[in-house]
Assembly symmetry: C2
Homo-oligomer: 345 residues x 2
């Protein structure tokens, strides 16, 4: 029997990748539900999946004993409650990042995961779905650059894409409201927090310093168009910068980079574009004591969604350790809480 | 009459570039002196300049009324005193960075600069002598990427070069002693502090957070092989990472980068090497609202040493504003003072 899942909370376009990843891994999508049926993402998913039934009441899906897994990419502030309801009903959960925006949500989820024996996986996407990031992990684990002393992650994002889903009218209102998206560090820096802990082999970390800023959005005074943070673990440092300043002239949504400094070398990833360089994505550069090397990572295998499905079936925790997901989520909220808030307006 | 200068304090190899820069700009080198005549750098400079007289007593040069300018690349902790003595004698000063390691030195220099009407220029080299950095300044000033919201500077350095001056035996003892080199942030991050203020158009800045660490030097417990800091000015943020982890396999001493994020685009510099990419140095990449562009900066004109000489002759301050030099120096000391110290041993 295939794993049966429902998609509940269809506000962010990340749901497309989550659904297609689960379908390709062999799961069956048995229902859709969302608070805002008029949202562009929701309508597009229904168009893409015309045979999957729509439910006006998400609770019907959550209560359905034949469903194993609830996937969600709701507005960030609502993801926690959807996960809590799903866990209470004995479902596994796969959520877009950020999975939570408050400590209360996180604590409730931790408690339910323990009580119900289900998992709560947050798709910190990059490390799971970006082939160069997976390759970097393999090289680091193999000792190629010695002991990792710092990760430096840059996550610039495009705010308005000419070809954006919304048809060019821009982002939805919740995108600009910190009470609904949860803050730039908890949202888009969660990728880099995840990679920091993972690549430095750290079970736990701390936020040394953080800043969020509105540098260029006078019409949305509470929007955070820039954020950065310094992280520390027992053995290493981390730095993250995220922003919404990708210009229209870049041929993709963001020039995501990761630099991993080790005691015996370093690795640089140009994840989505090699500006004025090689075509395609997933460019990995390494310098070690012997020389330099370019590695095209386009043939690296992606296993994340298959691992999630196997975890549902086998009651294992192979896709991503549960405690790691909790710690990344805690650090995202902590960064947001500790951040100095700068407004130029 | 050409500007006459003496080189006093010959411990760091940066003196070679300072001397050749001044000579090429038309100045005349009239004397050499240094506390440690046996230092490798000192001996090499004497060999390179066999016709320039050596003085056992540096004060003779400092007191010589026919000398206009004192250049120094002494051990960092001694540069301040050399500058103070030179200013007291009515000389202009050109010093390797860091120019000072304490606030007391800086205050004494500020006072003397005001009293004597002479200048104290610190060679924050990169912006003056790195063609891609000069080009980046031109593009920023021309508004190519809008208003700058962050500079991110990476300054990895090689600790032991196979072809190092020392003949392969490594760095001198003072290199590993924080009381003589002044700390990694004040030393090698001064480049990036300079570029932060300059490229964001900021007269002043602050250190938000800083860390220095010994990650991999158990034999030199007080050595700082890693440092980073977050900077802020009225309008922008800055981040700097410096380290001594450049591996032997990289074909140059360090993969220095600068990323300048603006409201309308960004610029990346690969200053000294384009790893597994284009040959040579000074690679500039820009993305703006229209597209992306690669700019080879190898033909950008260098004017710094000529400007210094003109400043000596004309009593002007064109090479670098004096207040800017003071502020960069203050921030370097402040970063070192505020830094959390991490030792893995």
């Amino acid at each position: 029997m295939p794993v049966r899942f429902a998609a509940v909370g269809l506000d962010h376009a990340h749901i497309f990748g989550m659904v297609s990843g689960l379908l390709e891994a062999g799961a069956e999508l048995v229902g859709l539900a969302s608070d805002d049926p008029d949202a562009a993402v929701c309508q597009q998913l229904r168009t893409m999946q015309p045979d999957v039934p729509w439910f006006d009441d998400a609770q019907q899906l959550i209560d359905d004993p034949t469903i194993d897994l609830i996937a969600t990419a709701a507005i960030p502030v609502r993801r926690g409650d959807i996960a809590i309801a799903a866990l209470e009903a004995g479902k596994d959960v796969l959520t877009d990042k950020p999975g939570v925006v408050t400590y209360d949500q996180l604590e409730a989820i931790k408690k339910l995961v323990a009580e119900k024996g289900r998992f709560w996986d947050v798709v910190f996407s990059e490390r799971f779905n970006v082939r160069s990031a997976i390759k970097a992990g393999e090289l680091v684990r193999a000792g190629r650059i010695g002991r990792v002393v710092q990760t430096l992650g840059l996550g610039p994002h495009r705010e308005r894409d000419r070809a954006h889903l919304s048809g060019g009218s821009g982002r939805p209102d919740w995108f600009y409201d910190v009470t609904t998206y949860g803050g730039i560090l908890n949202d888009i820096a969660s990728h880099q927090i995840d990679q920091f802990l993972w690549l430095t082999g750290s079970a736990a970390g701390d936020v040394v310093s953080a800043t969020v800023a509105n540098f260029n959005h006078p019409d949305h005074p509470d929007f955070q168009d820039f954020g950065d943070m310094t992280l520390a673990s027992d053995t290493a440092q981390g730095y993250v910068r995220v922003d919404w300043f990708t210009p229209q002239g870049l041929p993709t949504w963001g020039d995501g980079r990761l630099v991993i400094v080790g005691t015996e070398g370093y690795i640089e990833l140009r994840k989505y574009v090699d500006i004025e360089g090689r075509p395609g994505t997933d460019h990995l550069f390494v310098a070690d004591q012997q020389g330099t090397e370019y590695i095209d990572c386009s043939d690296v295998e992606l296993t994340f969604f298959g691992d999630v499905i196997a975890d549902v079936t086998n009651r294992t925790n192979t896709a991503v350790p549960q405690e790691h997901t909790f710690e990344v989520s805690r650090l995202g909220i902590l960064a947001q809480e500790k951040a100095t808030v700068r407004k130029l307006f």
